[in-house]
């Protein structure tokens, strides 16, 4: 039973409940005390000791129900026993039960030659099959399953462990000796295969959910933002939110100790004047830390739009970390979009922004000029200016002079380019003419790069 509990802990971790060794020890002690007799009490006990929040309780409860329900032997034998029941329901000893039950008997010499599994199936020994399934699951180390791609492997391993090789030989033999019996055995084998498949799926659900999700996230993190499929867009939004949460957690906690600087001699002297200058109380300089002020200029034309979308979503969910964000969107000309983003749902906001400025061909020069004319004052020595765009100016004047003015006023200018380095400077890309005025230029095509970029920007203020 201890084994079973360990497996359950693993399943719980698979369901996203963090089970530490200390907690599993507690759970073991608690379970040793309440016993396994009452499933309700057992469930409560595990929920009390392992789950530490309402969400976790929900997840663990579901996991418990899934773990301690073993549908597979039943569903497998259900068809068989259904046949059986209906057959015996006919009662009056018709031909079918006689042939079903009789065949192995009168062919007594034959059955002894059959393999264990075949005998078990033919005898419809429900508990034996269930036990064999459980044994095979152990032998195949089913609880080690992590990814959905491993399903086939584990199925064949389990079938192997059940002794399907011998069964196939038996089947071939029976085909010549007793065709009716062979057909029946083949049907039962199919049932068994279904049962195994179901068992593996259940195991995957139990042990592999988190890994599968992690794998999918990993793929998603490295997928180019500009070329996402529609169904991926929603997942990406969730991912972006998770990234935002991570960044918030990392950067929003004030770290007091770090802020203490050198001894403030003047204040110390003043404070201790009453003791004749003997420094009983010390005063320390505090290192001043700014919270980031961000001005973001996002190209929303054509191919860059999608990336800008995610970028704005991310930067606007960082309220706790970032002091002040002002966002501007441009393609042909530039407008401020902070209000739209703050007040509306992300989808609606993006739609409004797109109708206002989107879908034009980008004109960096004109947009920078717009910015210089109306909002240049927003850039202070504490501001990080982020430009997100591919720097493709359609052969128009890039107005690098304005970027220069901006960079002279700002703390940092960060240029995020969704295009790969290979593309910079080719065709109408003016990236290299802008680059001298930027503190950093980096590629930003995937969620992972986006996270790194934003994380670095925020960290620069710590």
């Amino acid at each position: 039973m201890r084994e079973e509990l360990h497996r359950f802990f693993r399943a719980a971790r698979g369901a996203g409940v963090r089970v530490s060794p200390a907690e599993s020890i507690d759970a073991m002690r608690a379970v040793a005390d309440v016993g396994f007799a009452d499933r309700g009490v057992l469930r409560d006990t595990l929920l009390l000791t392992l789950a530490k929040s309402q969400d976790e309780k929900q997840a663990l409860g579901d996991c418990f129900d899934l773990f301690f329900s073993h549908p597979e032997p039943k569903s497998e034998m259900d068809d068989a026993s259904g046949d059986d029941a209906s057959a015996s329901g006919d009662s009056s000893d018709a031909t079918s039960p006689a042939s079903a039950g009789g065949a192995p008997q009168d062919g007594g010499g034959e059955t002894t030659e059959l393999g264990e599994l075949a005998q078990m199936l033919l005898a419809q020994d429900r508990s034996a099959v269930a036990a064999a399934l459980a044994g095979a699951a152990n032998a195949a180390e089913l609880s080690a399953i992590r990814y959905f791609t491993q399903r086939g492997l584990f199925q064949s391993r389990m079938m192997e462990a059940l002794g399907v090789g011998r069964l196939r030989d038996d089947l071939d033999q029976l085909k010549t000796a007793n065709p009716a019996e062979a057909e029946r055995l083949a049907n039962l084998l199919d049932g068994l295969r279904d049962a195994v498949r179901e068992r593996v799926s259940q195991a995957l659900l139990l042990y592999g959910r988190e890994e599968t999700e992690n794998l999918r996230h990993e793929i998603l993190r490295n997928a180019p933002l500009a070329r996402l499929e529609r169904r991926q867009v929603d997942q990406m939004k969730l991912l972006i939110r998770a990234i935002a949460r991570r960044l918030r957690e990392r950067y929003s906690k004030p770290r007091k100790r770090q802020r203490r600087g050198h001894l403030d001699v003047r204040r110390t002297m003043r404070r201790n004047a009453a003791w004749g200058g003997i420094p009983f109380l010390t005063a320390w300089k505090r290192r001043h830390r700014d919270r980031p002020k961000i001005v973001a200029l996002c190209d929303v034309s054509g191919s860059v739009a999608q990336v800008s979308d995610f970028f704005l979503l991310l930067i606007h969910s960082l309220h706790e970390v970032v002091d002040d964000v002002r966002s501007f969107a441009f393609s042909g000309h530039l407008i401020e979009v902070s209000d739209i983003l703050d007040k509306q749902e992300p989808e609606a906001a993006m739609r409004e922004i797109m109708t206002k400025v989107g879908f034009g061909s980008s004109d960096y020069g004109n947009s920078f000029a717009d910015f210089e004319k109306r909002w240049l004052r927003a850039v202070t020595p504490k501001t990080t200016v982020i430009v997100l765009g591919d720097a493709r100016t359609n052969k128009l004047d890039p107005r690098t002079d304005i970027l220069r003015t901006i960079s002279e006023r700002a703390k940092r200018v960060v240029w995020l380019n969704p295009e790969g380095r290979m593309g910079w400077g080719w065709g109408d890309s003016e990236m290299f003419r802008y680059a001298p005025f930027c503190t950093v230029v980096r590629q930003c095509a995937t969620a992972k790069q986006l996270e790194r970029a934003v994380s670095d920007i925020v960290a620069a203020y710590q």
Binding site: D26, A30, D33, V41, L48, T49, A51, K52, S53, K57
Partner: protein
Amino acid sequence: MNAQLPIESIDAVTAGLASVGYIASRQIATAVYLAERIEKPILVEGPAGVGKTELAKALAKWRGLRMIRMQCYEGLDEAKALYEWKYAKQLLYTQILKDKLGEVLGGADTLAVALERLHDFGDVFFSKEFVEPRPLLQALEQPEGCVLLVDEIDKSDAEFESLLLEILSDYQVSIPELGTISAVVKPFVLLTSNGERDLSDALKRRCLHLHIGFPEQKLEERIVESRVPGASQALRAQLVGFINQVRALDLKKLPSVSETIDWARVLVLLQSTELDHETVKDTLNVLLKYEADIETTMPQVAGFVAKSGRAGMFG
């Protein structure tokens, strides 16, 4: 009552709590039983007014233990929660003992000897005599054990949580001048939280986590029965049915068990034997604490009363 005896079973907990007027669900009873068995604190979470604090009181009453309550608030610190030196007393004693001090030091020939003597003397002032125990230390010093209730831990600062960790895991506190003080008898510790902020994992890991939500209808009826004996069976069923419907609405503050009990008391005082439209309208402010909530509920009252009336008839 039977403080020394360990609790035998989950059913014993349910029965014991019921005997002091606390109707516990199976989950609550399991939590109390396990907490006693594996000596772990319970962290109770849930909306306001579902009986988190009440559980601690009932537990103390049933086990015949003293309850020590530690109300948390922002800015709570070691000096208020754990212990404090009785500074004034120390000062007073030094003044009184000034002469004695002279005597002690009088015979000393050298500075080293005087210092030596002063050392022995100094320890006197940092002894247990001069420690003012605050709730947490008190709880550890109770000779018969006690129920320690750390109420609304989510209101305190994160630093205070860390302070609690030593007590929660080892039932001991360290006072630099005195050393480590362990519990005479391990207290039964309950922490409550309204979920105003997330507690740290370190704290959660040391506790059993119990979530008390709104009770099921049957359970709530039994709670009302035990708390407001004057209410008739029909009225009970009706008012609990009504409240359950109100809880399904989108309100700012859902009525909790404490509101149910208050309302039942009010209805008994008003001598109503069953719920009717007028009484409900007049007493809705007992149930709902926000003007906006009352406005939302008002138009629905007639329907709810009718529904709960029917339910009462069949239930």
